[in-house]
């Protein structure tokens, strides 16, 4: 299995990278839509999506990209099993829900539209969303935004993310799909964002270590700094290799796809938080201020850690699955 991107994937990643670099937030969203990158209508594999989410993570792009891509995958998947649900994927803009406590989803009659939801949620980037997406290991639910109470706007750790807390008393889902498939996709794409953060912070630290001078030399000549950077490189490598491998396994419908996806989320999530932390240390005082993006990487890393299944959930799942061949 070749884990390096081929020429087509290189080009795809480069295109996403230059779009991300050029366009401001609202324009970028429109471009993403024009290119069909939310839907995978261009025949996107999960690897393709992962390559693009890696770029979004690297550049700290705000907005509900992750939930929207996942929601449209859900619509497409349920559509494929003859739901009878009228929902046009391209019209869906979704916000991600994080359960605060176990949220109960009761499938009423086994039909894709029959589930009801009860519990307390936090919703990320809800402004302008048509739907809210809840992804769990046992199923995924898409709920119309209007069906939920407005909730209380709260301050998110990450200043680029809008956060609302609300309680779903007994809300019908517009769409429900049992099973862990979407959870697997979600874990891989969140891991791709996290890998991007691990790589971007590595880059920021090495660039800084080559130029910032103390005691008459670049601080990167000191082993304490150099070795911290080397550790960041090891973690970034582990994160992306595993994420790419997991995405390949999902695309190939391999039996260990879920195992590999849980692993990707755990390893990449850890790499993002630890690299973002080391990046602050490498920058000294300026890393402790908002003069520099170091804090934004750390904050986004924590958001990614909590969405699409927190570490604890993925670790428990890992112990329950058979080891891959």
């Amino acid at each position: 299995m070749d884990l390096l991107p081929d020429a087509r994937q290189e080009a795809l990643a480069a295109r996403a990278r230059s779009l991300v670099a050029e366009a401001d937030a609202p324009v970028l969203w429109d471009r993403w839509a024009e290119n069909g990158w939310f839907d995978g209508g261009d025949g996107s594999t999960l690897v393709d999506h992962a390559l693009r989410f890696r770029e979004l993570g690297r550049a700290l792009v705000p907005g509900p990209y992750l939930a929207t891509v996942l929601a449209r995958r859900l619509v497409a998947a349920v559509g494929a099993v003859e739901s009878g649900v009228e929902l046009e994927a391209a019209a869906v803009v979704a916000a991600l829900a994080v359960p605060c406590s176990p949220v109960s989803v009761t499938a009423v009659d086994g039909s894709p539209a029959g589930a009801r939801l009860r519990g307390r949620l936090r919703v990320l980037d809800g402004t302008g969303a048509t739907h809210v997406l809840l992804v769990t290991p046992t199923g995924a639910a898409l709920i119309e935004a209007d069906a939920l109470p407005a909730g209380d706007a709260t301050r998110c750790l990450d200043p680029q993310v809008a956060l609302t807390a609300l309680t779903a008393a007994d809300v019908p889902a517009a769409l429900w799909m049992g099973g862990g498939d979407l959870f697997t996709d979600a874990a891989v794409l969140a891991a791709a964002c996290a890998s991007g953060i691990a790589e971007a912070t590595l880059r920021a630290s090495t660039d800084f270590a080559k130029t910032r001078e103390q005691f008459g030399k670049p601080i990167g000549a000191f082993q304490a700094v150099k070795h911290r950077c080397a550790d960041m490189a090891i973690r970034a490598e582990a994160a992306w290799c595993q994420t790419a491998y997991a995405a390949l396994c999902v695309d190939a419908e391999r039996s260990d796809a879920a195992f590999q996806a849980h692993t990707a989320k755990v390893v990449a999530g850890d790499a993002a938080i630890r690299n973002a932390s080391a990046n602050i240390q490498n920058h000294g005082a300026v890393g402790c201020t908002v003069e520099n993006d170091a804090h934004l990487f750390l904050k986004r890393a924590w958001v990614l850690e909590e969405v699409c299944g927190a570490r604890r959930e993925h670790l428990s799942a890992l112990l329950d699955l058979p080891a891959p061949e």
Binding site: L3, A230, Q242
Partner: protein, 390 residues
Amino acid sequence: MTDADLAFREEAKAWLAANVPREPQPEDGVAMREFDMAWQARQYEGGWAGISWPVEYGGRALSSLRQMIWHEEYARAGGPKIGTGFVGVNDAGPTLMLHGTEEQKRKHLPRILRGEEVWAQGYSEPGAGSDLAAMSTAGVVDGDDIVITGEKIWTSYADISDFQELLVRTNPDAPKHQGITWLICPLDPRPPGLTVEPIQTLSGPRHLCRVVYDEVRLPLTCVVGEIDGGWHVVSSSLYLKRGTGRIADQVSLARAVEDLLATARLPGSGGRAPAIEDDEIAHRLATARAEVAALRAMTYAELSRVDRNGTPGAEGSLGRIFHGELGQRVRLLAMDVLGPDALQMVGRADGQRDWVQEYLWSFTETIGGGTSDIQRSVIGERVLGLPRDR
């Protein structure tokens, strides 16, 4: 992977299932040598030695993919560690192929594959470890001979080897990387003036040796490469040496994690509750599973790089440190899983794992073959482009 590759895999699997020795591998001395060489000979007869080596030296000249498949299946089948065969097959062989004379190649390569020659590596010295190029064992050319005086240390298996790769300083006045020569030094029978003294390791076995040379006289025909060109010989074949064997190391570590998980699910001695019922242990086990899976992905990425560029580049150090330190975390976790049972070393009999011995040995993983500190500097400088520190 083609159908032919898949068929090759099936063939390897079947052969290994029927042939992997079930008796435990002795851990040092002549018994270990005999075990390892008998197993090497059996692999040779089966057509599984030197899969990617040229035909004229006893190999099969197949692709590196086939070699990788073999290593993977070998580890899955629980094949013994290569042990005393390591230096010959993975280092001396490839080095001679690149730099040896035709005569040196014909003399040694087929015998290495057939399990008739054990090799040791005499590089490190008391005064030269990480800074290998600071080595000082002298080689003085005298007519058609070279006369060697000095001391090597940590030479694995020198006590039971036939030959040693030996680095000597032939020009003390040249800059340190330029006055070194690479020699083939016979160890059995011992040339006059050469003594070998085994040193016991922290986990028990005695196979790291001190080798002392007191005016040992060898013919110049034992020089490999150029006089004073030894550093080039050491560094140019570095990758070939480990090659696709990394996949086997990864598979073995994955097996260790699965074995540990199985142990953790069983009650401890005296009816103690299974270790996995402790949340912290359970999460560390799950993390180990995740990390060993990530190591596999890193190994595949490394092999992809080798496939495209012929070398893993300095990026190879990324996986090496990750592997070494993960191996240590897994063994430390094993100690915690064992709890009070960790006080007792059970030995390797009955195909059982001796976790305590593995734990003790795991300390060598970040030291032998270049310490993790040195590897981190290599990553910093050659992968990330930071300024040099040495």
